[in-house]
Every structure is written in structure tokens, then in C-alpha cells.
């Protein structure tokens, strides 16, 4: 017999957390623009600018579509990224599935990306096609070092579950405190830079070359949906990083402290993802843009080389 009360409670909690996730994502948009503006010695927009932009886009009077395949973009990107968020352990708290399998998360991340690519391709704009080509190649580039580090972590912690990795790092045994995963965190942070599409890896959306690439034909609510996807993507990707290396932000055990632990852990998680995003912004603000083959060479030559050292390290650790 299904316990409808528990189910309802779970759905309410999920709805609350998803709303919170989007709220944080929108906050990050304004935050990013403000930080970048301050580095440029400008005043910058108000910190709540992200909310205004999204509401304005959804408030547009007329919206255009290039047909039903084009519409899939908005649907898949919103649905996919929300799904990934539901599978991630957030501050040690898993919403939809307690397993939070890391391979599943990596492949679920492809749903919004592919949906987005589908819509961009359906618009028929050559700029969009070029942008998607660049996005996919950037993905191929940064995935190699990232995947190498993740495999090293999986073997080290002997689990493929992200929740398991977070649990293994409880009591402040954060992975980043181990020397090998400190290097791993640096490698993964470089990959995160590409994942977040911040400079020097904002090749796919280069506004001055290919008119924001995949987004060139999107306007109004479609663009609003894509902005939500990008904003939630920031939350998801930084949370993934925090879960892997910073123990998911868990500092108090729920069993011991109860509700207090939830509150504190969520605050710490929020602080950590903001910090990780802030680091990415600092790099973003001062770098120019790579060309696509330079990005590929950077990741596959230098970043992957360091990741290979980590693999060898773990190999020695496992073999002995």
C-alpha cells in the first residue's frame, strides 16, 4: 500500500527544493554580473537582476517558434536539468533517489544539452549549428579530465554512487584534504570552467563571433526557459563539484543534530557553491576566449596529463 501522506510530503519537499534551486540559479545570474562589473570597475546591475530578466522574458507579448522540434528545446532543457537536480545529493540530502548514481547523473546531464541542441538545430540558423558543434566539442574536451578524476574517485571510495561518495566524506573527511584529490579538484575545476561555459571556454556562445551561437533564434519564453536551464545548470554543476570534493557541504550529521543539521548544511552548501562559482567568475572576468581546437588541446594535453597522474596514483594505491 502506497503511503500517500509520505509521498505527498516528499513531493512538497521536492517542489520546495526545486524552487529554491531555481531561485539560487537566478540569484547567481545577478551575482555573476555584479562581480564581473566590480572587477571591470563598473557599478553593475542590481544583484536581483536575474529574477527581473527571467520574468521579463516570460512576460513577452509574442513568442515565435520554428515548429514542434524547436519547442522540444525548451521542454527538454527545463525538464532535464530539474531531473538532474532531483538526483543530486544537495547538502547530503537526496531528493528523488537515495542512490544518486554518478554515471546516471553524468548521462542525465546530456538530456537538457541534447534537447537544447535539437531546438537550436531545428531553428535552421547556421550560427546555431556552429554553436552546437562548438558546445559538443567543448563537452568532449572537458569530459576527458573530468571523467578521469571521477573514475579515480569512484575506485578510491569503491562506490559509483554520488551519495556514497558524499557519505564517505562525512565528518569533514573531505576529498580535497587528500593531496591526490587536491590536485584532482584543480583538474576538475578547470573542467568545471568549461562546463559552466565561462571564459576562456565560452566558445559555444561567443556573442561577438556567432551571435550567441545556439541561442541565436531564441526569444521570449523560449529564451526564458533556456536562461532558467543555464541558471539551474550553474547550481547543478557547482553542486556536483562540491559533492565530489567538498563533502557536499555536510558538516553536521543529521542523526545527531536533527533539523539544525539540515539548516546548517544547506547554508554551508550554499556558501560552497557560491565560492566555487565565484572562483570561476574570477577566471572568467580576466581571460579572453580560446579557439575550439585550443580548448581541446588544453584539456586533452595538459589537464588530462595531470588527471593521468592521479589515475596512476590511485592505481598504485589500489594495487598495494
Amino acid at each position: 500500500m502506497v503511503d500517500f501522506f509520505a509521498l505527498g510530503e516528499q513531493i512538497l519537499v521536492m517542489a520546495f527544493l526545486v524552487t529554491l534551486g531555481y531561485a539560487i540559479g537566478m540569484f547567481f545570474n545577478g551575482f555573476a554580473r555584479k562581480i564581473t562589473a566590480r572587477i571591470h570597475n563598473r557599478v553593475g546591475p542590481p544583484i536581483y537582476q536575474g529574477y527581473i530578466d527571467v520574468f521579463k522574458l516570460f512576460g513577452k507579448k509574442t513568442n515565435i517558434s520554428h515548429g514542434w522540434i524547436f519547442d522540444l528545446a525548451a521542454l527538454f532543457s527545463i525538464a532535464g536539468i530539474t531531473l538532474v537536480f532531483l538526483f543530486l545529493p544537495v547538502a547530503g540530502f537526496s531528493m528523488l533517489s537515495t542512490d544518486g548514481d554518478l554515471f546516471l547523473i553524468l548521462y542525465l546531464l546530456a538530456i537538457p544539452a541534447l534537447g537544447f541542441a535539437l531546438g537550436a538545430g531545428a531553428s535552421g540558423n547556421p550560427n546555431a549549428a556552429v554553436g552546437i558543434m562548438r558546445a559538443l566539442m567543448t563537452m568532449l574536451a572537458y569530459e576527458l579530465p573530468l571523467v578521469m578524476v571521477i573514475v579515480a574517485m569512484m575506485v578510491h571510495y569503491n562506490t559509483t554512487s554520488l551519495a556514497g561518495i558524499v557519505a564517505a566524506q562525512s565528518n569533514m573527511h573531505w576529498a580535497i584534504f587528500l593531496p591526490v584529490f587536491l590536485i584532482g579538484a584543480i583538474v576538475a575545476d578547470m573542467a568545471l570552467q568549461g562546463m559552466l561555459m565561462e571564459k576562456p571556454f565560452d566558445i559555444p556562445i561567443a556573442p561577438h563571433e556567432i551571435a550567441t551561437g545556439p541561442m541565436v533564434e531564441f526569444g521570449g519564453k523560449h529564451l526564458g526557459a533556456l536562461m532558467l536551464y543555464k541558471m539551474m545548470g550553474i547550481v547543478v554543476e557547482t553542486t556536483l563539484f562540491v559533492d565530489l570534493f567538498l563533502g557536499g557541504g555536510v558538516i553536521l550529521s543529521v542523526a545527531q543534530y536533527g533539523w539544525l543539521a539540515y539548516v546548517v548544511n544547506f547554508l554551508v552548501w550554499f556558501g560552497l557553491i557560491t565560492f566555487v562559482f565565484f572562483l570561476a567568475l574570477l577566471i572568467n572576468a580576466v581571460f579572453p576566449r580560446f579557439r575550439i581546437e585550443q580548448a581541446l588541446k588544453f584539456y586533452w594535453k595538459y589537464d588530462a596529463l595531470v588527471a593521468l597522474l592521479i589515475l596512476i596514483w590511485i592505481f598504485v594505491e589500489v594495487s598495494t
Binding site: L118, N125, V155
Partner: protein, 617 residues
């Protein structure tokens, strides 16, 4: 009934030749006959521990048969492993025939005859109980394929298939001979192979021979040519179905016949035999290189061919690792690959049927013209890329888990990055063929072709919901090898490292899609034509001859980076082998001088050595 099925297949094949003038009638008859193997699969399901409703068991097949020929006898029996592979091939085959009815026009009788003969061969291979029967049917299948490759009229494809097919047959035959020499029996069940070096060499030769059919690198050279120059229904069956027979053979000889004792005689690495580990490494390399090469192709069929090679590499990885998890994963991947690759080749064929074009850069915008073909290929591509909206993910997940479980630190990243590479060529197909600027005003594919494609899409959805069913089917196979089945329910698969709960994924996707739909439908929208496009204010209609489709050299920076490393490909390797063979052959030819006195001398020399050896003995 087994022998009757073989006889009906053979008889119908001859009938097809007679019906050469009436392609539709021939196709319809061939389609109905092609359902027979599937009925056999249904009939045997009960024995494999799969419960199906009794009304599906139309014909009651016996589980083994002996058919006496004059000189010897054909020994046939169904095994769990055979049943699983027969399930794949027998469910694919009728759909391919259904598709052919509207596709094949020219010399259709010959086509159907050869197709039925391949199925005859497949049926025999899978049921074979001894090496002789196996080899007999293997050759029937191989030569029927050759007949079908010949229909492509492409010299390169024909020659390379002939060369590699012969090499494969030779390797398998030599391996069989060594095994027979060692064990004095032809029956698989009676062979108890001792862990000797000779047996390991024989096993390697057999596996190498099967690797040709399974298109493992570097034995894959024939595949891109044969896949890209033959008729689509046949290629769908060749790539989706018949390539699995190579892996069926590998599995049969590595695990059913040889067993871990022989495999591990070379040594083990983390409880995985070096033999298996090497196979896994070759598989990982194939997966990676196949993917990279697929990204660089412009011909739709070549792209699919290399993608097929890459995806088949995953099966080899699973078979190499050889844990219950890995074998289940390999079987799951074989199942997925059968259906998604068949759908993709059939969709490519449907596109060709309507537009007459193979080059991706010349196609485009067919998504709105052929929506059902597009959706079917979209599903197939999701399965290929391993997106968890189809069953494709579960197979890849099992293989990744298996690799991580054995702590394969260097193979796993290669597998994963090959998986990412699959997104690249998957999008190339989607964009190049179906999205973007509409360039052809064509109709949707014929109904028969659509039905065939959509029925083949069904398993991809079914096994998304019930990934545990594959574990169920794998359980008797694993039991035969003395392994435990992996813990599972229909919806949840558990490993020592993690859990895959398909229900969470499905409900999550449905829930979030509904959420997105609400957000999306909130505001009205208008649909504008494709020409209403932002191009810095330039109206495209001013340039009628300029195409806005950017699919030509789509991944050019990618090619710039990778092409230098892949230019000297496998064909160069085989050229070296060929060159060495030529030198050896030229040397050997010197013996044949054509002079009678020389030959007399040889005979004399032979006897002198013989007598000398006898004396010294």
C-alpha cells in the same frame, strides 16, 4: 520442428528465385516465412525461465534435434546463450523483411533468397551442438552474406569482405582443428579443454576469427565498405543482427567451451584473465577509435558503420571482463545495439528511398517532412548515446559498473569518453539529416518501412521500463557458467557499487516534463517559417543558390585535431601484412621452378631426409 524450419527456409529460398519477377509477392511470402524463427524463440522461452502466455506458443518446438545426413549427422540443441541471441536475430529478421517489401526492387528474388539463407545459417549456428555443424552453418551464413554484398557492385567492399571472410573462416577452422586434435571430440559438451598453451592459441585464433564478424579493430576493415555499399535492409540485419553472431561465437568458446580454467592459464589481473583483459582493452580501443572515425564521416552509411564498430566494442569489453555484471552488460548492449542500429540503418534507408542522397551535407530539414522516421531515429539515437530516456543507458551503466568493480582505472575513462564522443556523431545525424533548412519536399516513408522501424523501437522502450528482464534472460546463461545472477527486480538493478532504479528515472522524467510543459504552455506562440531567420538582417531569399545548412565539414576543427593521428589507419596495418605475405610468397614461389629435374631433386631430398631421420631415430 527444428529441421522442418530449416527445410522451409531452404525451400522458400529456392521459391524466391522462381518469384524473381514478382517482388511484392516474394517479399510477402518471405516475410511470413521469416516469422518462423521467432515462433521458435517464443516456444523455447518457457525452458529459459521466461514466462510468456501460452497462446503465444503457437508451434511446439522440441529443444533438440538430430538430422542424419549420409556421412554424418547435424546435431542441434537450444541453449540459454543461443536462445538469447536467437531472440535478437529472430525478432529483427521479420522486420527487416517487412521493410524490404517496399524497399527492394531490383532482382528481388535473389535478395530474399540470400536473406533467407543467412537466417538459415544463423538458425543453425545458434543451435549447433558440435563444431562441424557450427562450421557448416557458419559458412552458409558467410557465403549468403557474400552474395548480398555482391549486390552492392562495389569492388572494395566485395574484395575486403572476401579477404576478411576467408581469413575469419580459416582462423576458426584451424582453431577447431587444434581443439579436435586435443580433445578428440567435436561436441561442445564433451570438450574439456586442458589449460595448455596450444589450446590457448587455438582459442585466440577462434576469437580472432569471430572478431572479424564482430568488427573488432583491427579486423574491422571490411565492415565500413560492406555496410556502406549494400542495400539498407540487409545492412540493418548485418550490422544489427549478424555482427552479434561473432560475439555469440566468442562467448560460446570463451565461456561455454573453454571456461575460466583455460582463460586464466595465461595469468590473471584482479581476477580477470589476461586473455579477457586484452579483449577488453581491444574493445575499449575499438569503442574509442570507432567513435572518433564516425565523427569524421560525411557519408551517412559510413558514419553509421563506424558508429556500429564503436558500439560493438562495448560488447567486447563486457565479454572480456567476464564477471556476471559484465556479461549481463554485454548481453544488454548486444540487445540494444541490435535494435537501435537496425532502426538507424532502416531510417537512413528510408531517407535514401525518398531523397536519393547519402551524403549528410546534402540532406537536411527532413524532420518536418518525415516526422515518424525522425522520431524513430531520435529514439534510436537516444539509445545509442545512452540517454536514460531509452534502454541504452542501462547497458552502458552495467558495463561501467563492471569496469569500476574490477578497478579498471584506464579502460573506464576510455569507455566514458567514447560515450561522450557518441553525442557528437549522434548530433551530426540529427542536424545533418533531419534538422535545419528543409531542402527536399518529400513525403513520409512508406507504411511498411515505418511499421518495421517503430516495432524495432518498442524493445528500446520496454527494456527502459524493465531492465531487470535482461538480467532475467542472462540468469540461465550465467548459471551455466557457474556464476550468480546479478541481484535485480524488474525495475531495479543492484551492484556492489551502486543501484540503478529505472522507476525513479521514468517518474522523474514524466514529472519534470509535465512541469516544463506547464511553464511552456502558459504563453501563446506563433510558428514562423524556417526562412524567418536572424542573419544580421540579411534576408536569405536574396541568395537563392546559397544553402544555409551548415552540415558540410561539420566537425572541421575536430578533424584538424584528430585526423593526423588516424590517417594511417588499420588499412595501413593490413597493407604491411599484405606486403610481408607477398615477400614470403615470392620467396616460396622460387621453389616452383617448373623444371622436372628440380622436382625430382625435391622428391629425392625428401626421401633422403626421411631415411636419415629414420636412421638417426
Amino acid at each position: 520442428m527444428i529441421v522442418e524450419v530449416l527445410a522451409i527456409l531452404l525451400g522458400t529460398a529456392f521459391l524466391m528465385l522462381a518469384l524473381n519477377k514478382f517482388p511484392k509477392i516474394a517479399g510477402t511470402i518471405a516475410f511470413f516465412v521469416s516469422l518462423l524463427p521467432f515462433l521458435a524463440v517464443l516456444s523455447w522461452a518457457g525452458q529459459m525461465g521466461i514466462n510468456i502466455p501460452s497462446y503465444l506458443n503457437l508451434l511446439h518446438f522440441e529443444s533438440m534435434a538430430t538430422y542424419n545426413l549420409g556421412a554424418g549427422s547435424l546435431l542441434l540443441e537450444i541453449t540459454p546463450l543461443g536462445w538469447f541471441f536467437l531472440l535478437l536475430l529472430a525478432s529483427l529478421f521479420p522486420m527487416v523483411m517487412l521493410y524490404s517489401v517496399s524497399f527492394v526492387r531490383e532482382n528481388a528474388g535473389g535478395f530474399y533468397a540470400a536473406m533467407l539463407m543467412t537466417m538459415l545459417g544463423t538458425f543453425g549456428i545458434i543451435l549447433a551442438k558440435d563444431m562441424l555443424t557450427f562450421f557448416l552453418f557458419w559458412e552458409i551464413m558467410s557465403w549468403s552474406i557474400f552474395a548480398l554484398v555482391l549486390r552492392g557492385h562495389d569492388r572494395r567492399a566485395i574484395v575486403s569482405y572476401l579477404a576478411f571472410g576467408s581469413m575469419s573462416a580459416m582462423l576458426i577452422l584451424f582453431g577447431f582443428m587444434i581443439l579436435y586434435y586435443d580433445t578428440d571430440t567435436l561436441l561442445f559438451a564433451h570438450m574439456h579443454l586442458a589449460p595448455t598453451r596450444l589450446n590457448l592459441v587455438a582459442l585466440s585464433m577462434i576469437v580472432a576469427g569471430f572478431a572479424v564478424k564482430g568488427a573488432l579493430m583491427p579486423m574491422h576493415v571490411w565492415a565500413p565498405h560492406a555496410y556502406s555499399k549494400s542495400e539498407e535492409p540487409f545492412v540493418a540485419f548485418l550490422s544489427g543482427g549478424l555482427s552479434k553472431l561473432g560475439y555469440f561465437g566468442m562467448m560460446l568458446f570463451m565461456y561455454s567451451v573453454a571456461g575460466m580454467g583455460l582463460l586464466a592459464s595465461w595469468g590473471t589481473f584482479r581476477d580477470v584473465s589476461w586473455f579477457g583483459y586484452s579483449l577488453a582493452v581491444v574493445g575499449a580501443f575499438t569503442a574509442f577509435a570507432g567513435t572518433i572515425l564516425a565523427v569524421m564521416q560525411d557519408d551517412l552509411r559510413k558514419l553509421l558503420a563506424y558508429s556500429s564498430i564503436g558500439q560493438l566494442g562495448y560488447i567486447a569489453i563486457g565479454m572480456g571482463i567476464g564477471t556476471p555484471l559484465a556479461i549481463t552488460g554485454a548481453l544488454f548492449q548486444a540487445l540494444n545495439h541490435t535494435f537501435f542500429k537496425a532502426v538507424l540503418f532502416l531510417a537512413a534507408g528510408a531517407v535514401y528511398y525518398r531523397t536519393g542522397k547519402w551524403k549528410i551535407s546534402e540532406l537536411g530539414g527532413l524532420g518536418y517532412r518525415m516526422p515518424f522516421t525522425f522520431l524513430a531515429s531520435l529514439f534510436a539515437i537516444f539509445a545509442l548515446a545512452g540517454i536514460p530516456i531509452t534502454s541504452g543507458f542501462a547497458a552502458k551503466w552495467l558495463l561501467y559498473e563492471a569496469a569500476i568493480e574490477k578497478k579498471f582505472l584506464f579502460v573506464t575513462p576510455i569507455m566514458l569518453i567514447a560515450g561522450v564522443g557518441a553525442f557528437l556523431y549522434a548530433y551530426k545525424i540529427l542536424y545533418g539529416v533531419f534538422l535545419g533548412e528543409p531542402r527536399y519536399d518529400v513525403k513520409e516513408a512508406p507504411l511498411g518501412q515505418l511499421v518495421a522501424m517503430w516495432i524495432l523501437v518498442l524493445p528500446l522502450v520496454i527494456f527502459l521500463v524493465f531492465p531487470g528482464w535482461v538480467a532475467d534472460m542472462a540468469a540461465p546463461i550465467l548459471k551455466e557458467y557457474g556464476m550468480q545472477a546479478i541481484p535485480h527486480t524488474p525495475f531495479v538493478i543492484t551492484t556492489s557499487l551502486g543501484v540503478y532504479n529505472t522507476l525513479a528515472v521514468i517518474f522523474g522524467i514524466i514529472g519534470t516534463l509535465l512541469l516544463a510543459l506547464v511553464l511552456y504552455k502558459w504563453k501563446p506562440q506563433e510558428v514562423v517559417p524556417h526562412e524567418d531567420n536572424y542573419l544580421a538582417g540579411e534576408p536569405p531569399e536574396l541568395y537563392e543558390n546559397i544553402s544555409m545548412h551548415a552540415a558540410y565539414k561539420y566537425y572541421e576543427p575536430f578533424e584538424e585535431v584528430f585526423l593526423p593521428y588516424f590517417r594511417s589507419g588499420a588499412e595501413k596495418l593490413w597493407e604491411v601484412v599484405l606486403y610481408a605475405g607477398e615477400i614470403l610468397g615470392t620467396g616460396a614461389r622460387k621453389i616452383y621452378t617448373g623444371m622436372v629435374e628440380d622436382y625430382t631433386m625435391y622428391i629425392l631430398l625428401f626421401f633422403i631426409i626421411l631415411i636419415g631421420w629414420w636412421l638417426l631415430w
